[in-house]
Each structure stands twice: as C-alpha cells, then as structure tokens.
C-alpha cells in the first residue's frame, strides 16, 4: 500500500535509522502521517528503541488487518502499532507483516503495559499469538470460541457458534 506515498525524512526517522542500522526500515508517509514497516523478527527491538531513544512513551493503539482480500497484497496479516510521544505530540505508525503458519510476535507488554488488552483483543479477533504476554487468553469472546471472527475468511453471519456454547444452569454456577 505504498502507491502514492512519498518517502519523507524526519528527525525520528534518522535517529531510529542511526541507532538500528541493521533493521530494514521502510519509511513512507500519507497526508503527513509517517509509517514505518519493519520485519516481524525485529519488532521488540524496534519498539524498545522507539520508546527509549525516540521518546514514544505511549502506545495509543494496536490492531491488525487481514490482507486476504486486499488486491495486490503479498502478505496475510499486518499488525499495526500506533505510537505517540506525549510531550512532543508526534505520532508514528509501526507496521509489520505476518504470514501463516508463523503467526507469532513478541509481546509489547514489557515496553508499554497498556499493550496487555490490545494484544489479547488482536489474538481474539485474528489469532495472532503474542509470546511473553503475562495473561494471554481471549478478551471479548468466550473461551469456547474457536474461530477468529475479524479474519476475512470468517462469514459475517458467523458459523453458528452460539448454538454450541455450553449451557450453565443455576446449580452449576
């Protein structure tokens, strides 16, 4: 998705590139919003540098996009981190791509503890596993649920999971 994007240079970009020269970073921008794509194996190292070196002290959001039906996409999942430097007010979007069967990323909870529920939600909806998370399980859906509903191959009407949920009676609860 870099069709009309132009590469821009910013202070944070040159800083992060000079600190982590070994990591392949693809910097793009769309309407002045700066994004960087990094390989999934370097995520934790890069995010730690974002916090410690570049001063991005808040994780605003963490989400995932299933690129299954995206025309021209070569990867399956795109995990997106939205970073913010609270004092400077600058934002950065960090993206990484994942493909089956290697759907594992290191957990960012040790960098920002606010990643806790966001990672659980991404697992719940997309099935991305975050290794090293302190309390890793589904967040919104019940534990009996087996599918990952925000994947593009999951139908909007669902697969009738609710009919198969165990019934809890008053005496059991």
């Amino acid at each position: 998705m870099t069709s009309e994007s132009t590469t821009i240079v910013s202070d944070k970009q040159s800083l992060l590139q000079s600190v982590l020269p070994s990591i392949r970073q693809e910097w793009t921008a769309f309407q002045e919003q700066v994004r960087v794509v990094i390989p999934s194996k370097n995520v934790l190292e890069f995010l730690t540098a974002c916090r410690d070196v570049a001063g991005f002290d808040q994780l605003i959001d963490l989400t995932c996009v299933d690129l299954l039906e995206m025309p021209g996409a070569s990867n399956r999942f795109e995990v997106v981190y939205f970073l913010l430097s609270v004092d400077a007010g600058t934002r950065l979007i960090v993206k990484t791509y994942l493909n089956e069967p290697e759907l594992t990323l290191p957990s960012a909870t040790q960098v920002w503890f606010g990643a806790d529920w966001l990672e659980r939600e991404v697992y719940d909806m997309f099935g991305i596993i975050f290794s090293g998370h302190p309390n890793f399980k589904r967040l919104l859906l019940p534990d009996e649920f087996v599918s990952f509903p925000l994947r593009k191959d999951y139908p909007q009407q669902g697969r009738g999971e609710r009919h198969n949920f165990p019934v809890i009676t008053r005496s059991q609860s």
Partner: protein
C-alpha cells in the same frame, strides 16, 4: 473464566491464605451496563481485581467492513451511546481525512457545537451517576434535567433524540434552523444556573470528598504507559488535549483552556470533568455567535454528498442525484491507503483507523476505544482500596460497555 483468579504476580502462596473472592456483575447497577469483575479481597480490602468483558460484543468492526462510509455512521453512534454524536463526528473526521475532503465553515461550526454539547452530555452523565453510585440521588436529577434538553437540541437538528446519525461524508444530514440556534442559545443561558446547583451539591460535599479523594489513584507514569487519554489522563497531570495539540474542526479559532488536575484520584477526575463542562459551554457560546452562513456541503465535493432531502422528495433531478450518489459504482473516490485520525471525545482519544482498498466501503474500520484502555487500568487503580471504592472508581473512569466491547 473460572471464578478463581489467576495468580496475581507478586502474591506468595502463604499470602493468599484468608483471601476471599467476590463476583461483581455482570448485572450490577454500578456497572451501568454489563461488565464483570472478579475481586480478590482481604476482609474489605481489594487485593486484586480481574475484569471480564465481552458481554456486549456485537461485532461492530466486522459490520464496518460491509457498510459504506455513510451507512456505518448508524453503527458508530451505538458505541458510546452516552455521547452518540461525538462518535459520528470522529468517524467522519477519519473518513474525510482519508479522502482529503474539506468541510464548509458552517458544517465545521455546527459539528463543533455538537461535539461540545456531547461533551457536556457525557460529563453530566458520568458525574451524575458517579454521585448516584455513592448515594447522592439529588445531584443526579439536576444533571439529567440538562441532558434532557440536549436531547431536544439533537432532535431538532436531526429528527432523532438518541441515535442521531447526523453527520455525512463531507457534510451533515440537514442544515440547522433558526429555532435550533435559539435552543442552543437558551441552553447556554440556562446551563450555568443548573451547573451551579449541581456543583454546589457535590463539589464541597464532605461525604463525597471523603469517598473520592485519594481513592483509585493513577500516577502520571502509569497513565502514559497504560494508554490513558482524555479526562482520565488529564486528572493525572498529563497536559494533552487533541483539541489544542492537533486542532481539528473549529477549535483553532476558539478560545478555551485545557483542564488538568494533579491528584490522579477519583476526585481529580471528577473535577476535570466539571471544569471541562465550563470550557465546553464557553466554546458553544463563541461558536453559536460566530456561526457562519452558507452551504453545509462543500461544492467541490457535491458529487459525494447526499443531496438535501427536500430536493430529493420534490424533484426528479434531486432523486436522480440521490440515486447516483448512493450507487456502489458511482460513489466517492477513495485512495488505496490507510489512515488513522482521532478526535478528543468526551471520554478520551477516539480514533478510527481506516484501511481502504479503493472500494466504497472500508476494508477495515478499527475503532480505538478510550474505554478499553481505561478499563485495563482499573486493576491498578483499585488495588489496596476498599470494596466500597469499586463503584467510585468505576464511576470516575466512565466505562461504557458498548464502546468497550464493540
């Protein structure tokens, strides 16, 4: 989730002796909607809390992938239903930022007035029910009286009291009328008195202060690292407000202050919300006096706008225009891109991340719900507080389960 808590970090086996577990919710008046807490207590002191959410999960983000940019507005106003229009404004703010659509001055000002009315609307509920949960029913009634009048203002503009679905890509459903302006002016005139009554009942009430001061403290470092935004972060000393730091709508032209507190406790969050209502009123007063005239749709983007309903129902050209604009193959030009844009909603930073594949629907419409990140901080706030403080902390962070679970 099993009733027993997972082992809390740092809790030794011998420390767990004598603790008891209490299930709070999902149906409890103080949860306002449905959320569940499993509390681990030592006598009356909360040692740990584990929230269990998802009771209101309705797949809104999945629906966002099958509805077009105008249709999805009917879903987003069901997220934070305490301030529906704030969600609509945030959603279309993101869509317009993605497509690079500029709004007309009149549309910008009407949206600003509504955004601030919604802030008052939301804060009145939050502060009112916070007091109600702590046993003060009178102040709650004063707050809800004013909320009723804001519903009437919404009804006059959009025809709907609650789920207004008022914004459209590049404009608004209807233009506002002169009696709507008169209603907003009347609100500005009457609100200070109701606010004084409400604040007088609560702000110096000794029982209320003792129930909230020093309770549920969130320090500044935790607020930042945990992703807190909005009044919750500002009550902990973070001086960030998107209306000032990343100005959108008409906030650049208007004069107002950021409201902050240092305590980080329930009382500070309450204070910040009370002060923000005063500032919102100041913004509305300025905006309604400077409301520009002119169209609500930008002429340059007339192709994308939904035409005026009187034109649609009374002329064949208008009807054709309407059909042309809503046909899937004739809709607006969307770049194949992804964009994140956020607004300062009453509860905090409400952002939408839209990924587009050039279609008239979003490929992925991610909501960044402030409630989710605030509720994740709840166990930190409640540790070592009393059992009766649970409702005080819950009330002060204003959890809206529909937004939490989406």
């Amino acid at each position: 989730m099993p009733l027993e808590l997972l082992d809390a970090p740092g809790l030794q086996e011998n420390q767990k002796e004598g603790l008891w577990t209490l299930n709070f919710g999902p149906q409890h008046p103080a949860t306002h909607t449905t959320l569940r807490l499993v509390l681990q207590l030592d006598g009356e002191i909360v040692i740990d809390a584990e929230p269990d959410i998802g009771f209101l999960h309705s797949g809104f983000e999945k629906l966002g992938e099958s509805l077009d940019f105008n249709q999805y507005v009917t879903i987003v106003d069901r997220m934070n239903y305490i301030s529906p229009l704030a969600n609509e404004i945030a959603w279309h703010h993101s869509v317009e930022a993605l497509m690079g659509i500029e709004l007309t001055p009149r549309c910008i000002y009407i949206r600003t007035i509504f955004a601030e009315l919604m802030r008052i609307h939301d804060h009145l509920l939050c502060t009112g029910t916070c007091v109600l949960d702590l046993g003060g029913a009178t102040a709650f009634m004063y707050a809800f009286n004013e909320r009723e009048y804001i519903y009437e203002i919404c009804e006059r503009a959009s025809g709907q009291r609650f789920h207004t679905s008022y914004t459209r890509v590049g404009g608004l459903l209807y233009d506002v009328t002169d009696d709507w302006i008169a209603m907003v002016r009347k609100f500005c005139k009457n609100f200070p008195k109701a606010y004084r009554d409400f604040a007088g009942l609560v702000m110096k009430n000794r029982i209320f202060i003792e129930r909230t001061q020093g309770v549920g403290v969130l320090c500044k470092e935790d607020a930042i690292a945990g992703g807190a935004t909005g009044p919750v972060a500002r009550a902990s000393g973070v001086t960030r407000d998107l209306r000032i730091d990343e100005p959108y709508l008409a906030y650049d032209d208007l004069d107002f202050d950021i409201c902050c507190a240092k305590g980080g406790d329930c009382y500070s969050r309450f204070q910040v919300r009370m002060m923000e209502m005063e500032q919102s009123l100041k913004i509305i007063e300025q905006a309604i006096e400077n409301l520009p005239s002119g169209p609500i749709y930008n002429e340059a983007y007339g192709k994308t706008g939904v035409p005026d309903k009187t034109e649609v129902y009374r002329s064949i050209e208008g009807l054709i225009h309407h059909f042309e604009n809503i046909m899937p193959n004739r809709q607006m030009d969307v770049p194949v891109e992804s964009f994140y844009a956020a607004t300062e909603s009453p509860n905090g930073e409400l952002g939408y991340y839209i990924v587009s594949d050039g279609n008239f629907k979003a490929y992925r419409a991610r909501t960044r719900p402030p409630s989710l990140l605030h509720f994740a901080l709840f166990p930190r706030m409640i540790r070592n507080c009393m059992l009766s403080d649970v409702v005080a902390v819950l009330g002060s962070i204003n959890i809206i389960a529909a937004e939490l679970d989406r």
